[in-house]
């Protein structure tokens, strides 16, 4: 990781009662990148982001954000979007945004101008005088995102930013995040939606049971898994694909499949066998998808960890 990291997480541990939510986790986030914190539900993503924001203190380990050991020292330079809605239900949209900007040290006059621009961009300007609870879930999420950006933060930390958004808004938010990156800002986001992460992030940190199991630049990570994966798009019943000779592992969906080949297996032979039974509209030999890597590393059989007594 480059020395120009805006965030260092070193050997950080956090325990709730009997549950070790984060276990000696270490990773770094480079300036000007979009980093995805990936993991299953309960993997420790939200707890990690809360510790980075100074909401929880780690039991052990060090977090260094923008060169400060204490998040409090730099909090006005951080934008944070919590996992669940973190807004006042009864407060009017514009008032709420101005409040969020002001507690981050933004001057009211500036906040107002910026809030107007953002609300218009998100198609929410007409709703500025309404109470938050009158908005749809997706619109509330957009307000929350504006709240995280109004004070012009250098580092933007987003916990599941796409949750509740429709496809149009997902594209809108994705474009906005890319713009923020182009402006030189650093973005750290958590998600368990691999497809989305793949389209957005430069770097990944995959965590499982509180530990980083994989980290690095997305393309490098994928390349390290080798070009031994066949991506197929087809019409027909593809159930037989998993049983073809030379296929070490397979994930078959309704009209698509991802087949990891055994060492030395011939991709062409697989194609020939497939063509015999289904209509192939796409065939590609490439690195595995993030989803495939995720499942490979985290294991579909691994139990989901969601302790009953604490929400992590």
């Amino acid at each position: 990781m480059s020395a120009d990291a805006v965030l260092w997480v070193r050997e950080v541990t956090k325990t709730f009662g009997q549950v070790r939510a984060v276990d000696r986790l270490s990773f770094a986030v480079a300036r000007g990148t979009i980093t995805g914190l990936l993991g299953r539900n309960g993997a420790g993503k939200t707890t990690t982001l809360r510790m980075i924001n100074g909401i929880f203190l780690p039991d052990a380990g060090v977090i260094e954000l923008l060169g400060a050991a204490d998040a409090a020292a730099v909090r006005d330079r951080i934008g944070y979007l919590p996992e669940e809605r973190g807004l006042y239900r009864k407060m009017r949209v514009l008032d709420q945004l101005l409040f969020l900007a002001e507690i981050k040290g933004q001057r009211p006059a500036v906040a107002r101008v910026r809030a107007e621009a953002w609300l218009k961009r998100f198609d929410l300007w007409d709703k500025r005088a309404g109470k938050l609870e009158e908005l749809s879930k997706g619109n509330q999420q957009k307000v929350q995102l504006i709240g995280a950006l109004l004070h012009d933060p250098e580092v933007v930390i987003l916990d599941e930013p796409m949750s509740g958004l429709d496809p149009i808004n997902v594209v809108l938010v994705r474009n906005i995040l890319k713009e923020l990156k182009a402006e030189g800002r650093t973005i750290l986001l958590s998600t368990h939606m691999m497809g989305e992460a793949e389209k957005l992030v430069d770097e990944i940190v995959l965590i499982h049971e509180g530990r980083a199991v994989l980290a690095g630049e997305l393309e490098q990570v994928r390349a390290s898994f080798g070009s031994n994966t066949v991506h197929l798009v087809f019409e027909g019943d593809g159930a037989f694909l998993a049983g073809l000779p030379g296929v070490a592992a397979a994930r078959v969906d309704t009209n698509a499949a991802e087949l990891r080949l055994a060492p030395g297996a011939d991709a062409q032979a697989v194609l020939t066998a497939a063509v015999a039974k289904v209509r192939i509209s796409r065939f590609e030999i490439a690195a595995p998808s993030l989803e495939e890597i995720f499942i490979d590393r985290v294991g579909a059989g691994a139990p989901e960890r969601r302790p009953a007594e604490v929400t992590v």
Binding site: F16, G54, I78, Y80, R89, I103
Partner: protein, 448 residues
């Protein structure tokens, strides 16, 4: 702008803009007036129309009871404590009307009880077609001779203490006259001998000022205690609910990651203090306006509250209001910080409210004996201090050292609660999950 100020502004604006706040602020004075004066009015009305049949077993007391409205001699003023209290409230411009007690005299030499029977039947049946009867007073035939004889008053409502007291007074006055007449003293002399004097209460202050109408200070004390208490109860719960909501809605994550918990808490508490001040300020202004411009409205009830308030207590009022208010706002904040749901928070509301109510429940003895040990001790126990001390200030002049001490104690209490809240806030507010045990709470206080 400091972040505490931003929080203060939000808390204040969000509460003051609420419809419930506006309605409560506008309606409360009227509700209060209704609560205080309607029962009094009803009671006075009740006294006006009493019709009582007096069955006189001695047959000698005709003079004291006519069929005409009786002009009640001073001697017939209620003698018991409870009766005096009631009479006191009834006095004022309407006092004259209180005298309208109609008695119907029936001489019954011999067996008064059987002579009274038809009237008792009438009383029992409560027949609408005939003149309404409220009570039957039976004077035994041996009333003059037997010192242990009992006057018996039958009525449908045994709780009508005032009428009972008045009747007892009238009979005893008449009996005394009769006994004196038996010793050869004529009626006019007897009346002079039996003449009772009225008592007027005057409150003396160290400044040498005399204040009449001390008995009304009692009412004033009650009203002001209510003014101190109600905003605390209404908005204190608001603090608790607000904190719990911020927790359940996760706004708290944004707040905590944006400012020190101390700023957050002080902004919140100060914002709510301002809300409370706005509200009581509005109430006092409304009360003042009512007293000045439509004194008549208050006069209808026979009471003009502001006439009896030494305006110098107003600054004290604000001092003790703030102290009492902040104490409970901080207590409620602790409750909110350690609760995870409104339901959990609800459990704290009852006990906290009970504690807040203690001085109010003891208002009667405190206002009656403001220098008593009870009042003095209570006014120096933190938490109870503000309301108790203010009640004492209204009806008496407590020593300055006690006033000073009570203020110092209150400030210290608020400081301790605030400090505790800030600590618990920082940790407790983020501990989603089980409510902390007392042991855990204690650990939190020691850490952080």
């Amino acid at each position: 702008m400091s972040k505490a100020l931003v929080v203060l502004k939000r808390e204040y604006v969000e509460v003051v803009r609420k419809k419930s706040f506006i309605i409560m602020t506008l309606l409360f004075p009227f509700l209060m007036a209704a609560l205080m004066f309607v029962p009094t009015l009803l009671m006075m009305k009740g006294i006006q129309g009493k019709r009582v049949v007096v069955v006189d077993g001695t047959g000698k007391l005709q003079d004291a009871f006519g069929t005409h409205p009786t002009d009640v001699p001073p001697a017939s003023r209620p003698a018991s404590k409870a009766g005096r209290e009631l009479a006191k409230q009834a006095e004022g411009p309407q006092a004259a009307k209180v005298a309208e007690l109609t008695t119907e005299y029936v001489a019954a030499s011999g067996d008064a009880k059987s002579a009274a029977q038809p009237y008792l039947d009438r009383l029992r049946e409560n027949d609408d077609t005939r003149a309404r009867l409220d009570g039957v007073l039976v004077i035994p035939s041996d009333a003059f001779t037997d010192a242990s004889a009992k006057l018996v008053y039958y009525s449908r409502a045994a709780s009508d203490i005032m009428t009972q007291e008045r009747l007892a007074g009238m009979v005893n006055h008449a009996l005394a006259r009769g006994r004196l007449a038996g010793r050869g003293i004529d009626a006019a002399d007897a009346d002079r001998l039996l003449k009772r004097l009225d008592l007027e209460s005057v409150q003396l202050s160290k400044s040498g000022k005399e204040k009449k109408g001390g008995e009304l200070s009692f009412l004033v004390g009650f009203i002001f205690a209510a003014l101190l208490l109600f905003p605390t109860m209404i908005h204190g719960q608001e603090v608790m609910r607000g904190i719990v909501q911020e927790k359940t809605e996760r706004v708290i994550e944004i707040l905590i990651s944006s400012m020190p918990s101390f700023d957050l808490l002080s902004g919140k508490v100060a914002g709510l203090a301002l809300v409370g001040l706005t509200q009581v300020g509005a109430w006092l202004a409304m009360g003042g306006a009512m007293a000045v411009y439509s004194g008549g409205a208050a006069m209808v009830a026979g009471v003009n509250v502001f006439q009896y308030v030494d305006l110098r207590v107003i600054p004290w009022f604000f001092v003790f209001f703030l102290l009492g208010y902040l104490t409970f706002v901080c207590i409620y904040a602790v409750g909110g910080a350690i609760s995870n749901s409104e339901k959990e928070a609800q459990q704290f509301m009852g006990p906290i409210m009970m504690v807040a109510m203690v001085p109010w429940m003891l208002a009667f003895p405190i206002l009656q004996n403001p220098e008593s040990t009870l009042a003095t001790v209570l006014s120096l126990i933190p938490v109870f201090t503000p309301i108790t001390m203010f009640m004492r200030i209204i009806v008496s002049e407590p020593p300055m050292w006690q006033v000073g001490l009570s203020i110092a104690l209150s400030v210290a209490t608020i400081y301790v609660f605030f400090w505790m809240t800030a600590k618990i806030f920082r940790i407790g507010i983020l501990s989603y999950g089980k409510r902390p045990s007392p042991a855990e709470l204690w650990r939190w206080l020691k850490v952080a």
